[in-house]
Amino acid sequence: MSTPSGTVPPPGGPANPGGVGPGVPAAGATQIHNIGYRKYDGPRLGRSYAMRSLYTQSLRGAFGLGRSAKSKVLPMILFAVMCLPAALVVAVAVVTHAKNLGVGYTRYAILLQAVIGLFLAAQAPQSVSRDLRFRTVPLYFSRPIERRDYVLAKFGAMSSALFVLTVAPVVILYIGALLAKMDFGDQTKGFGQGLVSVAVLSLLFGGIGLVLAAFTPRRGFGVAAVIATLVISYGAVSTLQAIIWAGEPSSAITWIGLFSPITLIDGLQTAFLGAHSAFPGGVGPGAGAGVVYLLVIAGLVAGSYGVLMRRYRKVGL
């Protein structure tokens, strides 16, 4: 459809009688100028497309892609720091013709938890706090996406970003193990267990990070809240476990592990994924306590989703 611009009356509109000089309004002498506004009649991409776009943009943003060069520095450094030890482990294993990798697939994320924590603390607030602070959340909700879509897209993006970060070294370890001609069956089984472990870790950490970040419009404060939660809970739990282990070791070590995210993951993979626990003395939970660990993790993930949904019922802060 092509409408010529000019002073032609719109088709079907009432005809205007006669031209009128400027500044001389006369009853019935007004004229509607057609300045060529068009109605959009292309395809409408809809709600799921908007949600996918938000997901992609948030995921790329977590690694600084599509943002300024300065914001790429930190995530890229953390990504490199995460992968470097894996490459070293592989190099050592290949050179020395070892029968096993020095570090287990499931153990790797536990060892480098500080890097994961820093990545989450730096990226979760940039994902949600800035939307709140610059009041862009109302603009998102003026699009066809619903509250659920926004929360799911952000949650999914943060978890995916953490998954990319944690799975990369596991893949490096696996490729290295195959190059070093280790037993294919053993390594593949360990690799699968590692994948499940980091997937659960990503969901759990992503949820916790986003909940803490979503309650503050200030980036700096969000960063501090996320890292404080992770470090303090782990510091308290591991100190208590060490003290109990030094005294009379009991099952209390297992139950205290429920109170920090990283020991939750540790306990879960010790119970079900054949990992060696990093708890003092290597005494992880058995299958029975493992079910409790699994329930707590599931509860925390579902709880973070619920809290985020509640949080965005009102868009302002």
Binding site: L74, A114, L118, F134, G220, F221, G235, A236, I243
Partner: protein, 239 residues
């Protein structure tokens, strides 16, 4: 060199609303853990030293230092309201020193006092352990506040950099590379604690004279440079 109005505004920014929540949670957690440990294990010097050294000095003091040090100036630079403060006839170094006093006071109040209480709960100040760690917390508060206040004026990512220093440098590298411990506020403060506590209760990798000199130099240097930074502050736009 001390401006009461600036101090009042800084106190309100630091202790207002949710920021204060983190500041209260940490000491409360320390005291709860100490109570639990005392009930389970009874009074024991080794346990007290482990808990105060591992949790209070290594985790709590740096975190509170980061929150108070960067929080004293960071948010104001972040949202641009520092302009209204700088346009008043107050010397820039005065602004920095006032904010430093406030940050030190807050860090000390929320880290040293709980450390003292926890120390008395754990073993009733046996072997001077509670006093030793409290002194370490007090000294570390001064150095951390100055350091992180400087970071707040230097970078917009002050909190992240401060946390990287506190967690990655002091905890991770400090435990793997012995040389890194020489450049660690925590070890300098522990050098003082080592002097006060009974034999073998506290250990530090830095000698006392070196620790004192480094503490004074770092605190003074950071404060001076923060004042310089504030004199030539450019307000950056949001990235």
């Amino acid at each position: 060199m001390y401006n009461p109005t600036v101090a009042r505004l800084t106190y309100r920014a630091l202790l207002g609303r949710r920021r204060a929540a983190i500041l209260f949670v940490l000491p409360a957690l320390l005291i709860v853990i100490s109570l639990a440990v005392r009930l389970v294990r009874g009074a024991d010097d080794g346990t007290a030293s482990d808990l105060l050294g591992g949790f209070a000095i290594a985790t709590m003091v740096p975190l509170i230092g980061v929150i108070a040090g960067t929080g004293a100036i960071g948010p104001e630079i972040d949202d641009g309201s520092i302009v209204y403060l700088l346009s008043k006839p107050v010397k820039r170094p005065t602004v920095i020193i006032t904010k430093l006093f406030v940050a030190i006071a807050v860090t000390m109040a929320f880290s040293a006092i709980p450390t003292l209480i926890a120390g008395f709960i754990l073993n009733g100040n046996g072997g001077q352990i509670a006093i030793a760690y409290t002194v370490a917390a007090l000294v570390a508060s001064i150095a951390y506040s100055a350091l992180f206040l400087l970071l707040g004026t230097v970078s917009r990512h002050a909190v992240v950099i401060g946390l990287v220093y506190a967690l990655v440098w002091e905890a991770l590298f400090g435990s793997m590379v012995p040389g890194a411990r020489t450049l660690s506020v925590q070890q300098w403060a522990l050098a003082l604690a080592q002097r006060i506590a009974g034999e073998g209760a506290v250990s530090s990798d830095v000698g006392l004279p070196a620790a004192v000199i480094l503490l004074v130099v770092v605190t003074g240097g950071a404060t001076w440079y923060a004042g310089r930074r504030l004199r030539t502050l450019t307000l950056a736009g949001e990235e």
